[in-house]
Point group: none
Chain length 140, copies 2
DNA sequence: AGAAATTTGTCCGTATGTATC
DNA sequence: AGATACATACGGACAAATTTC
């Protein structure tokens, strides 16, 4: 229960341990780490400390966490894709108004809106996505 | 790692900074502030100091905190503006990537994206809504 | 389709030790 | 000595996303 704080903090020791397991393959790439609750038992640490340890690995991009799912080991390991495209790709479609858009346009949630989406590419990678919403029938 | 404390206490400086972000709209009214853990990183302050800063804003009713959910900005503030608003209202905030945006940006669903929303007004009515998405950290 | 269990996200309150004004 | 702040750690509770039954 104390807070040693001498030497190395616990969360760093735990992060170190988990990193080894991931890099050694003991935790397979793409697989889920044990749940936080399981790690609290395994390391006899509080959940906050476990989460701090995982945060270290997340900063290193060694793991990726998804809400309600878990924490994946070695999530992103693929090379660059060439796939060059035009500078801007434009698509237009009809979508349902989310609550905020509904309030702005003074229509009901779920009402039809026109969405024009422009995807701008910079060096082959997506630089920004622009979505323009307007009411059906509005001039443009 | 000094503890300057020259002039104003740290928590007041942080509160001041957050207040500016809220009042300027950089943190959209009704949206969530970054989590305490995120603010500790952003301001390089301890959690206790962050909580103290938020407590200041809470006392001012500038924010409202809900247990387990987060801290909301400007729970209710829409006093009369001094004059008519501009033709374009711009707000910026952090949102979670929907499946399509996630695919475009090559991030995971739910990952943080920056959304800049421009609401263009025509004769006081909303003419169009433009939402621009980009990766956090990207220049703009 | 719906309820329950699982899991992560967040906040709350508290505590200990250290360091700097 | 006292005030301020940092870093770490605990345990609890509620919220939200996902999966499972």
């Amino acid at each position: 229960m104390p807070t040693p704080h001498h030497g190395q903090p616990r969360y760093r020791v735990i992060a170190e341990d988990l990193r080894r397991q991931i890099e050694s393959g003991a935790i397979a790439p793409g697989s889920l780490l044990p749940a936080e609750s399981a790690l609290t038992a395994e390391f006899r640490a509080s959940r906050g400390t476990i989460r701090q340890a995982i945060a270290v690995l997340r900063d290193e991009r060694l793991v990726a966490t998804e809400h309600g799912r878990g924490t994946y080991a070695n999530p992103y390991r693929y090379k660059d894709g060439p796939a060059d495209g035009p500078d801007v790709e434009t698509t237009e479609r009809q979508v349902a108004a989310d609550p905020e858009l509904a309030a702005l346009f003074a229509v009901e949630v779920g009402a039809a809106l026109i969405e024009q989406q422009n995807v701008t590419l910079m060096n082959g990678a997506v630089g920004a996505v622009v979505r323009i919403y307007r009411l059906p029938g509005a001039m443009h």
